[in-house]
């Protein structure tokens, strides 16, 4: 399988370049990651992140052509600074995630056992809590490209709604105040790239719409 891969090592490269590889596959190889692992066995200077190899850890998000054809082009996620090869600096992405207070807030002392939650209330969290923080969505979002420091981005907003939607959380007002800003929430122009690229089939655009809806309801 032929590859064209983005290469950049600040220790020795003045500028990024594309490098060609021809990788011999094993009949058992099934996923693109299998091929990339073989590529690395050929050339150990090629750097990328990976861990679970089953789509739950969110390590190996990368920019791959929509329809696979040879040579397969691999590039780092767009919109974030490249540290090396396919490894990007995700600080800004996590900073935005942290900014929405991604944890349950409920100051009332918890009961001795579980807080009760109906199956219907619990279902509100489906499609929200499954996010793996891979950053595919935020780095596919033009609004995030332009304002990564001001716009929370689809991943952070999905997480914000995950807590707003949780019947156990008591901080909805505070969470909405935190987002009521021309940039933090309202830079979303429903381009919906986030929905297209989410590997877990989640829908941040819908979550953003829900937050807006609650905000409007609160205002009237």
């Amino acid at each position: 399988m032929k590859f064209r891969v983005y290469r950049y090592d600040p220790d020795k490269d003045a500028a990024p370049r594309m490098q060609d590889y021809d990788v011999t596959l094993d009949p058992h190889d099934r996923m693109l990651l299998d091929a990339i692992i073989r590529l690395k066995a050929q050339d150990d200077t090629f750097a990328f992140r990976r861990s679970c190899r089953e789509g739950v850890c969110g390590s190996d998000a990368m920019n791959i052509m929509k329809t696979l054809k040879e040579p397969v082009e691999l590039r780092p996620l767009p919109g974030l600074p490249v540290i090396r090869d396919l490894i990007v600096d995700m600080s800004q992405f996590f900073k935005q995630y942290h900014s929405i207070k991604p944890y349950l807030i409920n100051e009332t002392p918890p009961p001795e056992k579980e807080r009760l939650q109906s199956p219907e209330d619990r279902e509100e969290l489906d499609g929200l809590y499954e996010c793996i923080l891979c950053a595919c969505c935020s780095t596919a979002c033009p609004s995030f490209w332009w304002n990564p420091d001001k716009f929370v981005g689809p991943a952070g907003l999905l997480a914000a709604y995950r807590f707003i939607a949780d019947s156990r959380d008591r901080a909805t007002n505070e969470r909405l105040d935190n987002l009521e800003d021309p940039y933090r929430l309202f830079r979303c122009h429903t381009i919906m790239n986030c929905v297209d690229v989410c590997p877990k089939n989640l829908n941040p655009t819908r979550a953003i719409a829900k937050i807006r809806e609650i905000m409007v309801k609160r205002a009237v």
Partner: protein, 558 residues
């Protein structure tokens, strides 16, 4: 508190000082760091990967706790199942403690925001699981608290979120290299490598807590992530601390054939069954009582037997089938959505319509760094087998407090992380470390690590890391797999010992300081070989058949 100063005989390295450091940010590490942060200690958590990438994220089925939400349950029943599951090799005091603490740690996790599945009355839903029984083995019971089939993911994210709230200090993408011990044997911290810059540092601490996870990557076919390279085990072994029960490796009955990816026991909990090539539900023969929900060693061994006797499925008759289409699309989509995703991606089958091809696959390491119930590492000294190693703690899969004995009960891994993460955090927190002075670092504190890095930097023309690691995994798979006999094991020991010499001569082409993953993989190989050696040497030395490691004689039935 953080401070700085030089150390080392060759070059001076920066030092940072903390009351406590936690190595590893999976479920155990983050449960402990949360406890420590809430007790106000200065604590740093080091992780090779961003915390939510840790392998806890891949746990699927549930967390065992005798809440009794579905029917009457009792901690002693949970304890009985755990002791029996362990093939009576677990430490019963530790097991009693874990089962007693289970409801509390699950409720705490719920209070932290964990999105558990619910019953119509709002309480936590619990599903049946392998080896979970009511009234001391009488019948199957629903004891596993779950978030669909993403329990580990939900738990890991919840714990990370709570650590964000508690302002835990993370060192993300830092790899711990070696333990620092002084002449008296006290552990004073670790050396560590910042992957992004290639810089090395000494992290000095009054308490060093290992939560580095398992080492399933010593085998060719494993459910484990790439990062599970036994780093804590390697560091402990290199520092002269013996490892315990390393011959006990659990085979999960249902790894996707060929791919190794885990299919949770929760599938059988929800009613899935195993079939051989004749369409027979063969577990009825091996375990008439619990059938497909017998404990993992029993199911894995039965599958192995079916395949060996020619009743496997497929063109090579080398797997069995996990059928769940009879559960209906609704149950599958609600309770097992990720399983469907995995089956489609890795086995090309939609379980709503077709069964999934599965084989027993290396999943979990019962052994590890020996500890007591407070997470204190213990080692033999002057004839006493249980002497505490001052300053050193271990929890989770890298540790062996021995709640799993020779075979872990399903759902007890996440429980282990919560119970002992919390217990070790509390214990360390109660030591009043903030009042205690740091011991002096030995002058050679970082020499071993610096020598390892210097060798790799200077390496040319040696064997490639990927090739040696591949041989290691193949050797362990062939000589220390589900079927073991004395001859296979003895040959395996010789091969692994030879391989150890090759590990010392590997070379890397990548000499960059910036995010040098080749260097990381070479350093991981040092840990893989220590773990493999400990595992196969222990297996060879055990002259009886126990639970997970089966010789030609089957030792027990569920």
């Amino acid at each position: 508190m953080a401070g700085a100063g030089p150390v080392g005989t060759h070059v001076s390295l920066p030092i940072r000082r903390f009351d406590a450091i936690v190595i590893g940010a999976g479920g155990a590490g983050m449960r402990a760091s949360l406890q420590l942060a809430e007790m106000g200690l200065s604590v740093a958590v080091l992780s090779k990967v961003f915390p939510t990438r840790s392998h806890t994220v891949a746990a699927q089925g549930g967390i065992g706790a005798s809440l009794g939400n579905m029917s009457e349950d009792h901690r002693l029943w949970h304890m009985y199942d755990t002791v029996k599951g362990s093939d009576w090799l677990g430490d019963q005091d530790a097991i009693e403690f874990m089962c007693r603490m289970a409801p509390q740690v699950v409720y705490e996790l719920e209070h932290y925001g964990m999105p558990f599945d619910r019953n119509p009355d709002g309480t936590l839903y619990q599903r049946p699981f392998g080896g979970h029984s009511a009234n001391f083995g009488e019948k199957s019971i629903q004891r596993a608290c779950a978030a669909a089939d993403r329990t580990g993911h939900a738990m890991l994210h919840t714990l990370y979120q709570q650590n964000v709230r508690a302002h835990t200090q993370f060192f993300v993408e830092w790899m711990a290299l070696d333990l620092v011990r002084d002449a008296e044997g006290d552990v004073l911290g670790v050396t560590a490598l910042e992957m992004e810059t290639g810089e090395m540092m000494v992290l000095q601490a009054k308490a060093t807590l290992f939560a580095t996870g398992g080492a399933g990557r010593i085998f060719a076919a494993s459910t484990n992530a790439f990062i599970n390279t036994g780093d804590g085990l390697g560091m402990a072994a290199r520092a002269g601390i013996p490892l315990e029960d390393m011959e006990f490796w659990q085979f999960h009955p249902t790894g996707v054939a060929g791919a190794g990816v885990l299919i949770t026991e929760g599938v059988r909990g929800e009613g899935g069954i195993l079939l051989n090539c004749n369409g027979e539900r063969f577990m009825e023969r091996y375990a008439p009582n619990l059938k497909d929900l017998a404990s993992r060693d029993v199911v894995s061994r039965s599958m192995d037997q079916e395949i060996k006797e020619g009743r496997g499925c497929g063109p090579h008759k080398d797997y069995v089938l996990l059928k769940l289409d009879h559960l209906g699309p609704e149950v599958i989509m609600k309770r097992l959505p990720s399983i469907r995703e995995i089956a489609i991606n890795f086995a090309n089958v939609d379980p709503i319509k077709e069964p999934i091809p599965v084989v027993p696959t290396i999943h979990y390491q019962m052994g590890g760094i020996p500890t007591n119930m407070y997470g204190q590492v213990i080692a033999p000294r002057d004839g006493d087998p249980n002497v505490v190693v001052p300053g050193f703690y271990a929890i989770g899969e890298c540790a062996c407090v021995s709640v799993h004995g020779a075979n872990r009960l399903g759902t007890n891994s996440l429980l282990d992380l919560l119970v002992f993460g919390r217990a070790a955090g509390s214990f360390i927190g109660e030591q009043r470390l903030e009042r205690r002075q740091h011991k002096d670092l030995p002058r050679d504190a970082a020499d071993a690590s610096m020598a390892r890095l210097a060798r790799l930097d200077a390496s040319t023309g040696g064997e490639r890391v990927a090739d040696v690691a591949h041989t290691l995994r193949r050797t362990m798979q062939a000589h220390c797999g589900v079927f073991r006999n004395q001859q296979l094991l003895s040959e395996g020991v010789t091969k692994i010992m030879e391989l150890e010499q090759r590990v010392k001569r590997v070379a890397i082409d990548d000499k960059s300081k910036t995010f040098n993953t080749a260097r990381v993989e070479a350093l991981e190989l040092d840990n893989l070989i220590e773990t493999a050696k400990a595992s196969i040497v222990s297996a060879e030395a055990r002259r009886e058949s126990r639970a997970t490691a089966t010789a030609s004689i089957t030792s027990r039935c569920g």
